[in-house]
Amino acid sequence: MPITTSDVSEYLRKVAEVLAENKEYLTELDSAIGDADHGINMDRGFQNVLRKLPAVEDKDIGTILKTAGMALVSSVGGASGPLYGTAFMQAGMAAAGKRELAAEDLLAILEAALKGVLMRGRANLGDKTMVDALTPAIDAMREALENGADLTEALDKATAAAEEGMKATIPLIAKKGRASYLGERSIGHQDPGATSSYLLIRTMAEMAHAKQA
């Protein structure tokens, strides 16, 4: 079963819901090593995505994702706004004109999104950022697909890897973003951006399961 435009819209709605639920949790994480707004930022951004969505729902997936990216850019602010905004905009470019996505298409789109994050934020793996959740997730998905897994399986693998990557940020010293000012004092705290990235991946896997059932 390919991914359809309405799946993508539904995904964005689900993400908005998940982030609203996790607003305080993400903010709590950010208050330890940042400025206590990551949950607030992400929630504000996806509420804006919800507002822009109806106007493009009948368009192609590329347009929907680009619109989401622009909605994020123009409402999140902070570090995560340009990062997630660029990610969705690059994803939209990779999906330009498409109305259906196969598993491989989704992988390519996620790779484009990650490239966008890296281009914008220039973080390296291990810098204690969202990259530490996104990179292993996409690697795991690629490997699973190469080994013949189906979309649901591949996204399960990605989710597990994202979760592991997210947890692995705990002992790291932050080298990018606001948390880097803390130096050693950033050790022992989970990165909020890696956590929101994990939630974004996990929501994909959950949707795949729901669709299969």
């Binding site: 903010t27 208050s31 940042g34 400025d35 206590a36 707004d37 607030i40 930022n41 504000r44 850019v73 123009s74 409402s75 999140v76 602010g77 902070g78 570090a79 995560s80 706004g81 340009p82 990062l83 905004g85 660029t86 914008r120 934020g121 010293i173 932050a174 080298k175 990018k176 973003g177 606001r178 880097s180 000012y181 803390l182 130096g183 004092r185």
Partner: protein, 357 residues
């Protein structure tokens, strides 16, 4: 949380409404996207200066919009950087054709949002340069972090570059001057109390009745160290010496190259202070510290500068770059040359800085 506000989510909007009503002859305010701009913008033939950042640092930046300083300011949510559409729309409004300088404090969020805005403005045919302000000596190394934060020097750069633009400097010259101000300015701050972000509703950090935080940022970021409260003289000495004895600081920042028309990595080094230097001394309240205490700090700072062979040729004392109602102080020293002194003295007419007119 004790604040004179209505709903936390309306703070920035209502603040801007108040400003618009208070200073109609100086500024106008555009809503959605939010930006404050000179009432007489665009000013023919003049390079336009735009800055911005999270709200909660008033009067910076909105209070510095006007003749001789900024052409526009883009306020984000409290302590959250603004979004590129704000800077883009502001640029379109104030651009007279002579180009735009974005003055950007070095926070990952601000830097990235301004970069996107610059790219977007260029896509619309507007010439844009960007200069990063990173003057906070509380952040030690730059190799493995996002680098030093932009704090007090920002205010001084906006004044000096604003005067230069008014005098007819072109975009490249204003950008160069801004870079010069930045590498010659250094700051360090401390807090006696935390501030409370309205949306959060509780203090960002807790300090005991006998504690203070040294090396604080302007967003309630934890500082370099927490220690027992000391006297004003001791605190002034700690801050001033961190600044004066700071060694050459080298970092790489991303700037737009106006000739090559591409983003380039530029390495820059701050020259350390030396005996014989002329400086501007800026003693800044974090918001909740009253003027009477700032004068006590200034008194000691003057003495220390004298002892170190630094001559204070200009000063600025008051709440200019704040953290909501936080009690505390920051000190900025800016090494001045004749050009900078002359531009500092040039007329300025904004809601919160005004002289010579």
């Amino acid at each position: 949380m004790k604040k004179l506000i209505n709903k936390p989510e309306d703070v920035v909007k209502e603040e801007l409404e108040g400003m618009a009503l208070a200073f109609p002859e100086l500024i106008k305010v555009h809503f959605e996207p939010n930006y404050i701009y000179r009432a007489d913008a665009p000013v023919k033939g003049k390079v336009a200066l735009i800055s911005g950042g999270g709200s909660g640092h008033e009067p910076m930046h909105g209070g510095f919009v006007g003749m001789g300083m900024l052409d526009a300011a883009c306020p984000g949510e409290v302590f959250t950087s603004p979004t590129p559409d704000q800077m883009l729309e502001a640029a379109k409004t104030v651009n007279s054709g002579a180009g735009i300088l974005y003055i950007v404090k070095n926070y990952t969020g601000d830097v990235m949002n301004f970069e996107m805005a610059a790219d977007m403005a260029r896509a619309e045919g507007i010439q844009v340069a960007n200069i990063i302000i990173d003057d906070d000596v509380a952040v030690k190394d730059s190799l493995y972090t996002a680098g030093r934060r932009g704090v007090g020097t920002t205010v001084l750069a906006e004044k000096i570059c604003g005067a230069a633009a008014e005098k007819g400097y072109d975009l490249k010259q204003v950008a160069e001057l801004c870079r010069k101000v930045n590498i010659n300015g250094r700051s360090m701050g401390m807090a006696l109390t935390s501030c409370t972000v309205p949306a959060a509703g509780k203090p960002t950090f807790d300090l005991a009745e006998d504690e203070m935080e040294i090396g604080i940022g302007i967003h309630g970021e934890p500082g370099r160290t927490r220690m027992k409260l000391k006297s004003a003289d001791e605190i002034t000495e700690m801050l001033a010496l961190s600044i004066i004895e700071d060694e050459a600081y080298t970092r790489t920042v991303r700037e737009w190259d106006l000739e090559r028309e591409e983003w380039v990595d530029v390495e820059m080094t701050d020259p350390p202070f030396e005996a014989g230097d002329k400086v501007l001394a800026f003693v800044n309240s974090m918001g909740g510290t009253p003027l009477i205490e700032l004068f006590i700090i200034y008194r000691k700072l003057y003495e220390i500068c004298e002892k170190k062979g630094l001559t204070i040729v200009r000063n600025l004392i008051g709440p200019y770059i704040t953290s909501l109602e936080m009690q505390g102080v920051s000190i900025t020293l800016l090494k001045m040359d004749e050009e900078m002194v002359e531009l500092w003295d040039a007329p300025v007419k904004t809601p919160s800085m005004r002289w010579g007119v």
